[in-house]
Amino acid sequence: MATMATTTHFGLFNGIFRRCPYNGDPNTIQHSAISVVRTPIGSIVAQRRSKNKSYRQSYRSCLGAASKLGHTPGWTARRLNTSRRTKSHNITEKVNPEDLALLVKTEWQLSYVTPLYQFRHTQLRSYSRQLSAFITAEKQQGLAVEVEGAQTSFRVSFSVVQGLGETDDDAETVLVQIHSKPVFAGKDEAQKLVWSGWLTCINGNPEYLHSLPKDFTCLPLFGSRGAENLTSLVKSWFQQTFDCCFGPLEINQTCLQWLAALWTNCHIESSIQHLKMIWTLPVEPPLQITYTVNPQDAWELWNSVRTPSLESREEEETARSIDIEEVTRFMQGLMSHFYRHFRLDLSAGRLSQVSSALGSAKFSGRVKMSNSRYVLTTLSLLTECALLKMPI
């Protein structure tokens, strides 16, 4: 799908590379120009790879000289921020609790989205009408004769979840809901919510966001819930209307480990009740190992691997920085305790799910946030994952 975008709109992006550098540094302009020159228009595979290359170079240049090369062992490495701040958010002050209630306690299937071209937050009503018409048209495809009355009409509503963004650079979160009557409903039955989805950007990398040309809106994380056919229709409409691409977002090992650590970190404020991790081992037949840790013990282990804080007392109370090394030490502690008993190395397998009372996350890209206080932390992490996975 990404390749389709590049072939049809290569000209557009070509223009961008030349006109809008990723930052004002003349060296980087040179960089981008070179990367463009290097991309042969011929073979698509080569094109794709160099698109990755140019993206990674530009993202790397955004991160500056402090890019931690030690953590990138190759093309397939995902590089998340190696440290992040944790803040307890009194999110109900910023966001409408009703909107928040729509996001929490449901399992969402995640995808990444490339930046949207000419998306206007002011035109949401028009988008609602367009999407509704699109879905109805697609559903009617193949019917030669107009059937009276027995149509399921779809009512689409686009809305904004105000206040969810962390910084001023984050575009406002957009929520899409589709209501429709069930197939064999009576005349007076109200329409029910059959599908919902959202696009968001929380704490997106500011340099990357600034580097995008004016007409592009970056909402890289897409979550959906509902029938698969509706999800693909919504995606097609977005792709057609805003010239973007969707792709599946797998929550990789590092990200899952981050979530395990971040949730354990919150145990003092809101009990996580348990820390459950599921590993899959590649033996025949596949072995699934569920490792559930008592929350208090998990928290004490986490606390014991924290590097002593160098920050002042006040800073420590509000926002303490968590480093990837601490996360790694935490996971290693858990795995070594397991090894001591079973002499089985968990790293031979794959961590496929992490869950606690604050939420759950699966490798397949399904995530659930159960506590509204930690929505922002989780979404920031996932936004980062989405930005890294994007091919452009």
Partner: protein, 345 residues
């Protein structure tokens, strides 16, 4: 017609797959030849139910007869539902000479003494197993045939397998079993699974076991995938060694199909790199569950492929060795001991 009979028969016809319905009904032998021939097994389940209800009414069959049919089906398909293993303890002198008729009489009389309304059916299967179906009632109500308990006991062994037993019924059944088998106590064997045949084979060691030999010969690999001759040659020794140890721990050939094993760990955290945690007095509490379509196969493969270090840790090899799949591990003594604490169900 009695509502219970109707419901029981309906449920039964739903559960029995169409292809097995004919054989099951034939085994039941409560229908005349003409009645059996009149049933068209290609009809829908709903139609079949109606037909059977009519026939049963004709023959004036009661709920006890339908219960018989259910029992035949369950005996043929023992791998449905959840089975729990129990073990009888401390045999009395005549425990080993208890034979079938004596056991049947004793069990029925003891259980009926303990609970007023109960319906018991005992059947002996070809493989020395005694099957008991119990429908429980109480002082005021008739036996509930929709929630029966099934018990399987192998005479002359101390093993009993139970399915669908509530905690209220457990002491009554335990008492009746203990008295009729001439043992003194019964305890939870900490082994449970979906497949009765699997947990039976595991507990009674009816699978291919491998014993340590003084001169191990390299076992022939079953699926030879020759990748690189040099690597093969280099790894042959250690691979064969791992395979031998994996088989010693878990057995050879086809292994009983156990689905899961649960370990409740309450041991202290010991890691020389982490001083804070090592100095803690309290145990590090966690629960580990291993799950697979065939757990013992998975464990054996993980040992032979090196994912699990060999020699296999006693925690994992206890599953086939002790015939258990629920363990509570505490810090008693040098090694993990799984029998110090009684486990709760």
């Amino acid at each position: 017609m009695d509502n219970t009979v109707k419901r029981l028969l309906e449920r039964l016809v739903r559960r029995i797959p169409s292809r097995m319905l004919k054989t099951t009904l034939d085994k039941w032998s409560r229908l005349t030849a003409t009645q059996r021939q009149s049933i068209d097994y290609t009809e829908s389940k709903w139609a079949l139910t109606e037909k059977l209800l009519a026939i049963c009414e004709e023959n004036e069959l009661t709920v006890k007869h339908i219960a018989e049919l259910e029992m035949i089906h369950v005996i043929e398909n023992p791998n449905l539902g959840m089975w729990h293993a129990f073990q009888l303890m401390d045999p009395q002198d005549d425990a080993h000479s208890v034979e079938l008729t004596q056991f049947k009489e004793q069990f029925k009389s003891h259980l009926s003494e303990l609970i007023r309304h109960v319906s018991i059916k005992i059947k002996k299967h070809t493989d020395e197993a005694v099957w008991i179906r119990i429908a429980w009632g109480d002082t005021f109500s008739r036996p509930n045939h929709l929630k029966p308990t099934y018990v399987v006991h192998y005479l002359q062994t101390p093993y009993v397998f139970l399915s669908s037993l509530t905690s209220k019924q457990k002491p009554l059944l335990s008492q009746a079993l203990v008295l009729s088998t001439r043992y003194q106590a019964i305890k939870d064997a900490n082994l449970s699974g979906r497949k009765l045949t699997a947990i039976r084979d595991l507990l009674m060691k009816q699978y291919l076991q491998v014993f340590p030999t003084k001169f191990p010969s390299p076992l022939a690999e079953r699926n030879r995938v020759v990748s690189n001759l040099h690597i093969e040659k280099e790894q042959a020794g250690s691979a064969a060694n791992r395979h031998q140890m994996a088989c010693e721990a878990f057995g050879d050939g086809l292994l009983p199909q156990l689905q899961s094993a649960v370990y409740k760990l309450e041991t202290k955290f010991r890691d020389h790199t982490n001083k804070t945690m090592t100095e803690r007095d309290e145990p590090f509490r966690c629960v580990v569950k291993f799950a697979s379509t065939n757990l013992l196969e998975s464990l054996r493969h993980s040992a032979s492929s090196g994912v699990a270090s060999t020699p296999v840790t006693p925690l994992l090899s206890s599953v086939p060795l002790k015939g258990k799949n629920y363990f509570v591990i505490t810090d008693n003594g040098p090694g993990p001991s799984s029998q110090m604490k009684p486990s709760q169900k």
